[in-house]
Amino acid sequence: MFSLLRRYREVIVVAVLVVVPLGVFLAHARHPGDRTALDRFVLVATWPIEKGVDWAVTGVLEGWQRYVWLRGVENSARDLSRTVNELRAENAELSQLQAENERLSQLLLFVKSRPDVRAVGAKVIGTRMDPKGLQLVTIDRGSEDGIRKMMPVVTAAGVLGRVHTLTPHAADVLLLSDRNSSIAVRVERSRARANVRGQGAPGPCRLEYALRSDDLIEGDELVTSGTDGVFPRGLPVGVVHQVKRGGHGLYQASEVNPAVDVNRVEEVMVLVSADPPGAQPAAQAPAR
């Protein structure tokens, strides 16, 4: 008996493996029940694998789409690049307008803070700062706009210069950095008087006629004194940078950092109702 079983072992096992599942199927197929423990086991066992495979397949597919299958990407990139360039140009324009708006707002605030003066706004349309000539900027307002020679020209930061040459629709402004420019100033802290003279180049000016005995230290703010017949009182001119007192002499020397960076001026105000320019320009006569 056992030898027979051993002999037909394979047939028996195979037959059992075929018949039993079929019997189970036929017995239960008409009454399907809930999911069994094995169903749940398969679900539990395959879930992490599915998740892992899903992650891997997603990674592969995304990698394929992003790094290999790049058909049409060139055109898309070109379009996007064009759009980016347009937006950059627009952004630059808007930034420029914003900066201009801020500068004009400051100018307006400056004018409002000085009810004693009436101002005409102007744009800088040219600069001539040739070391062999005068330090000039050209503005887009002229005699037809009520501007006259010697009128003070300022920005929100302070004094820029004065009107030098006039045409009906434009004017040259002699900058405070020009060698021919001399502005009567007062030290804001100590009220000491002096003159600020340009050195012929954008950058530091020279303080002249500051008495050796005057209280002057580095960092002192200088404002117009109003005694030169050109600039009204109290406009910022610059800051004392280096003070040099020699062993002898009547005056002390100093460098002045102008309040206005003449290289970056774009909008200015011409003070048309400031003190009339009848007096002798400070460039030709010391303030004292």
Binding site: V13, T36, I49, V53, V57
Partner: protein, 173 residues
């Protein structure tokens, strides 16, 4: 030792193949098509294992596939063992171990399992709940896709389920 290891390894491979099949079909077609990646494993068992080991392995694979399918119990187990036997019978007249042979056998086995399932379910299911013959088109597509996927699966199985001993094809010796 190596022989008995192949059955649990086949079970693990079944779970992996079921998961991969489910995930890949979802990714590629959102479930519009299906692929039976575990069937090439049955074919592999039919070609590379003995009758006892292969039949038990096929039954284990079938039980797991039954669990994954969620259908009536025993259906896929029965079909898996039958497919295993069918492969052993079908493989005897030609070289089924070639890549083309393995591919064709896998496709045929998949179709046979699908067709058998439709037949049996139509037999047992009540009127109206029985699967229609229209499902056979889907079974055919599944068979083709499974056949295409069979060679790489075989490549993996050859390395995972170490071939212990090649036995002559046929049901009985």
């Amino acid at each position: 030792m190596r022989v008995w290891l192949r059955i649990p390894l086949a079970a693990v491979a079944t779970l992996v193949l079921v998961a991969v099949g489910a995930s890949v079909t979802r990714q590629l077609a959102g479930g519009a098509i299906s692929v039976a990646l575990a069937v090439p494993l049955l074919v592999w068992l039919g070609l590379e294992t003995g009758v006892m080991e292969g039949a038990i392995g096929a039954a284990v694979v079938g039980i797991l596939l039954d669990g994954a399918a969620g259908g009536p119990w025993g259906l896929v187990t029965f079909l898996s063992v039958v497919v295993f036997l069918g492969v052993r019978v079908a493989a005897s007249p030609f070289d089924a171990r070639s890549t083309l042979g393995f591919t064709i056998l896998s496709a045929l086995a998949t179709f046979a399992m699908g067709f058998g399932a439709v037949l049996l379910l139509r037999y047992v299911a009540p009127e109206g709940a029985a699967p229609g013959w229209g499902l056979l088109g889907r079974v055919l597509v599944e068979a083709l896709l499974t056949g295409l996927a069979a060679p790489p699966i075989r490549w993996v199985l050859d390395r995972l389920l170490v071939t212990a001993q090649r036995e002559p094809a046929g049901v009985l010796r």
